[in-house]
Symmetry: C2
Subunit: 151 residues, 2 copies
């Protein structure tokens, strides 16, 4: 079973975001081994670099890493599903997805990632982005298993 | 003050989606007159046509109407803000945004809309799309007022 680790910088404060993330994590059980890691949002100078250190220390290795960022490529849900499916065929068993903090993420993280994904040209709060990524991972795995899922 | 009506087909069932929509509606107070109209999701033949009738009956008129659909144009948050700003300059005081049901929306609604917007090439559940649109309207109005807002 695929191991997927979603690494996020910043703690969810709002109950509704926590609840919806829990809901998708629950739904993902049985489709993959899904973990969400919350790292501390740093402050002050070197904020992004300190966060990058913590992100790098949290990666599942060996594995494939995707950075969520506006410079990333946009994919449809079907293309995301196919991409994850190709990794699985190649024998990749660990996938990391990284969401930065409110200030984004260090260039180092973007550069070292195996691929970069953008969900939208719009800017969403990173907490809502977390919900959106979990939903898309769930959707991608449902598409891969050819199971129907509500739009 | 701008009147914005978000017309959605289908009732929100999950508490977390209801809560996050309420949160954005609350934040939008003072920036615009925001209304969210929930229409019944129809079943059976002519589902989309029946929903289209109800959507048309719910539009703020005279006003400008945007259909949210995958065929729409993708905009950045700044471009969405500028677009809403241009309408306001032209004297438009009523904006409608339409989100279809789980099966999307009738071609008639897309054809008759003044513009079409796509938030992502990915498919999101229409309930999550509602949260995303409310957040983007809030962000657009905050950008227009040159106020800072958390990413």
């Amino acid at each position: 079973m695929l191991n997927i680790r979603l690494i996020c910088v910043g703690k969810l404060k709002e109950k509704f975001y926590k609840d919806v993330c829990e809901e998708f994590k629950k739904r993902l059980q049985g489709l993959c081994k899904m973990e969400v890691i919350e790292l501390k949002e740093e402050v002050g100078p070197q904020k992004l670099e300190k966060e990058a250190d913590a992100i790098e220390a949290s990666l599942l290795t060996p594995g494939v890493t995707c950075a969520l960022c506006i410079e990333g490529k946009m994919l449809s849900s079907e293309e995301l599903s196919a991409k994850i499916g190709r990794y699985a065929l190649e024998g990749v068993s660990r996938l990391n997805f990284i969401i930065g903090s409110s200030e984004g993420m260090s260039e180092r993280i973007k550069r070292n990632a195996d691929w970069r994904l953008s969900m939208s040209p719009m800017t969403f709060p990173h907490h809502l982005a977390r919900v959106m990524v979990l939903e898309q991972i769930y959707r991608a795995l449902m598409i891969a298993e050819n199971r129907s899922y509500h739009k």
